[in-house]
């Protein structure tokens, strides 16, 4: 029947495009990572897997194994992402919860407030903070006046007065939170919105206090949404390099993304850069497939 092939034919341009500009591109990464460097420090990809040169890959792995700079960067990235995610959930969940369940007639307005930052250019949002946190910026002044600066100095989260943009890990983490939290709140909101109000009412009816109903009904039901949203945000965060670059001038706060960027785009160690990219992709692969599987399952349940 002609029907079947009509639809496959329609898919062809898209599939073709993604195959070439996505799949082949990844194969290029593999082939460069397992390739070599010529005399001009340009990468020479080895297209045939049988020719693959494991030299560069082994170098990187050895570096990690012996606690070298790559391990440091990876661990730092992990730490940044973990802390930033925790903070984002801490702030984002209550906001999403409020919007989904208690906003009442203001819901539209609040949603607008949640959606707008989502669409403001990421760099512009960072730019705004650079303005505010520069030594003579309003933000610096306010933080000083409110005593927060003193608190951070005391906690060791800030090295010098007014030096927010001076290679501070705390600033990077908070910037990550600021940058990525809108991407977390909206899926959280959607998941919470989908929870049937009646189940919570049933729990209350059976004797649960508001807190108990939340812990025993709402929270578990929203867990898939929390996980999905977290993964959705953690993935790009792992590969972030522009945030540390913008809010911290120093290599002290380098994330793995910075390392890759320095080697690949800025410098001439593209092979090592490709190896690191490969490593990053592999680490994140598990997360990526988890997310894909959970959305597919959610879509199936939705349709049922």
């Amino acid at each position: 029947m002609s029907g079947r092939w009509t639809w496959r034919l329609l898919s062809l341009p898209g599939v073709g495009w993604l195959s070439v500009f996505f799949l082949v591109a990844f194969y290029a990464v593999l082939c460069v990572a397992f390739g070599n460097q010529d005399t001009l420090s340009q990468p020479v990809p080895f297209w045939n897997p049988l020719d693959w040169n494991v030299g560069y890959v082994l170098d990187v792995l050895r570096n990690i194994w012996h606690g070298g700079q790559y391990l440091t960067v990876l661990l730092r990235t992990l730490a940044f992402v973990a802390i930033a995610m925790a903070l984002a959930l801490l702030v984002g969940y209550p906001v999403a919860y409020f919007t989904a369940r208690h906003a009442g007639r203001f819901r539209g307005l609040v949603l607008l407030g949640l959606i707008v930052p989502f669409w403001i250019n990421y760099l512009m949002r960072m730019l705004a903070w650079i303005n505010l946190l520069s030594p003579d910026g309003w933000g610096t002044r306010v933080l000083h006046d409110l005593g927060i600066e003193r608190l951070f100095l005391w906690l060791g989260l800030l090295s010098t007065r007014g030096g927010w943009l001076d290679g501070q890990e705390a600033t990077v983490v908070i910037a990550l939170v600021y940058g990525y939290i809108p991407f977390l709140i909206l899926p959280l909101y959607a998941a919470l919105d989908r929870i049937d109000q009646r189940q919570i009412e049933a729990a209350r009816d059976l004797g649960a206090s508001p807190l108990s109903a939340f812990l025993r009904v709402t929270l578990p039901l929203s867990m898939p949404g929390i996980l999905a949203g977290s993964v959705l945000v953690a993935l790009p965060m792992f590969g972030d390099y522009y945030t540390p670059d913008l809010v911290s001038a120093s290599t002290r706060t380098n994330m793995i993304g910075n390392q890759i960027d320095e080697f690949t785009r800025q410098g001439s160690e593209k092979v090592t850069g490709a190896v690191l990219t490969l490593l990053l992709a592999l680490i994140l692969l598990a997360l990526m497939f988890y997310y894909l599987r959970s959305t597919r399952r959610a879509a199936a349940e939705h349709a049922a």
Binding site: L10, F118, L186, P187, L235, D245, A274, T295
Partner: protein, 284 residues
Amino acid sequence: MIAWVRNPWGRPRWLAVVTAAYVLWSIVPVGIAILFAFNAGRSRTTWQGFSFHWFTGSTGSVLHDPALQSALEHTLLLAGLCVAISTPIGVALGLGLQRWRGPGGGTVNTLMLLPLVTPEIVMGVALLLLFLRVFPGIGLGTPAQVIGQVTFTLSYVVVMVRGRLASIGREYEEAAADLGAPPHDQLLRVLLPLLAPAIIASAAVAFALSLDDFVVTQYLSSDASTTTVPMLLYASARGAPTPALNAIATVALVITLATLTLAFLVYRRFAGGREAVELASLEV
């Protein structure tokens, strides 16, 4: 005030406080940045009076600074090309996937979803190497930038089209067939008109994504002529730029928000509020 917050019968007021604080924290800094675009003086931190100088002034403004203008033009060029290419391909792929029968559909679906979950730097490096070593004939520059942008916006178009198709369902096509319409007419006379709001909306989203894109665009740029507004923001942010930077960022922002608001309204008019919100938050 404390009593108002701690009201035991009403909804938890502290949640409202947190939410309000978050929204302010989220938007106010950007508001301030926009404000300084209208600063009369050169400072980006000290208010010196209101002026349109950085937008339309004779020197160093968006309208008259060649570097800023070129960046804005290039950004819009890329966005236009990106939309022109990714929308048709994406709509076709969305239709094909939604109606796919038989084996292979799952694999194609996964392939389509992969760009959505791939970190941008990974895509940037991959595309960079692709245009350096696989297609050196194309090399870096505008064509590469367009191709890179299409590659990741495609999936967004597909997802939105599929979402709309799912809610339309098969009935209208069946009714058309029942009344004598052959398959291509079912598509043209019934399905595409019903799909129109989703197509417009996804075109707008692709436009906005392209406008705001940074990593892939930067990785595939060749020289100063292929600089976009986001790249400009990145390069100048830590220097000592004038409020012209704020001005151009504001211009780009206005374009993006206008496009998206239009898309949202179009979609809502034809599809319904709930779907439009899901669209805005890009439910995958």
